[in-house]
């Protein structure tokens, strides 16, 4: 798994790539929780996610919940097909704010 963060249009874009599994999900959680504590609008670019499991989804849910408590913004963008399949299985595709592209997510912030 690779995580790259960048500042774009007042938001922090977290670009995830590779396989987000039990080995790597603690790192994702740490990155997202730190950004949430800073109360930054976060867009998670999931275009490069080849695989994500329940532990990775848990990190996204935790960040989403924290953003919601803070009235903050937490958006998933460009969700890859494998990641969307898992979100749909968890019925979270109707819970998260999901944008087709990072540009679209930036436009909605």
């Amino acid at each position: 798994m690779n995580i790259e963060t960048s500042e774009q249009g007042g938001s922090v874009v977290v670009a995830l790539a590779g396989e987000v599994d039990l080995q790597h999900s603690p790192k994702l959680r740490k990155v997202l929780m730190e950004l949430m504590l800073e109360r930054r609008p976060v867009i998670v670019d999931m275009a490069g996610v080849a695989y994500i499991d329940s532990s990775g989804i848990a990190g996204l849910v935790e960040a989403y919940q924290m953003a919601r408590r803070q009235a903050g913004r937490f958006t998933l963008a460009a969700v890859s097909q494998p990641a969307m399949r898992v979100l749909q299985l968890a019925r979270l595709d109707k819970v998260f704010a999901i944008a087709d592209t990072v540009a679209a997510a930036l436009g909605s912030v």
Partner: protein
Amino acid sequence: MTTLDRRFPARPERLCDIRHAVAEAVGAVGCPQPVIGDVVLAVDEACQNIIRHAYRGADGDIVVQVAAEADRLVIQLIDFAPPVDVAKICPRPLDELRPGGLGTHFINSVMDEIDFLPPPDGAGNLLRMVKHFGDGQ
């Protein structure tokens, strides 16, 4: 026809190896990509459960077996941890939005049969999962 019968250390950093071995084995019998993805997810989640709830952080192994029978795949996961209380294994309701507890739901969603069977001598648990991959699956 057995396409995979391999022992792996039950450690998070070996889940990647397990996933890739299962994907290769399932792909070798001609299963379409969606089936491969679902089976890989189920095996990964089941192995996570073994690592976290059966071995509880202790060292151990998982034997991963994949067999193709006509239009179905039979996957068996054997561990050597103390027997788990099957009655305590249940998915959480999806209308509760909380971070954990989705793994068992994923397994139940993508596999057609899930059973804990009597393990072979010397083993602790045997999880058997079946996935049909014929037309319309």
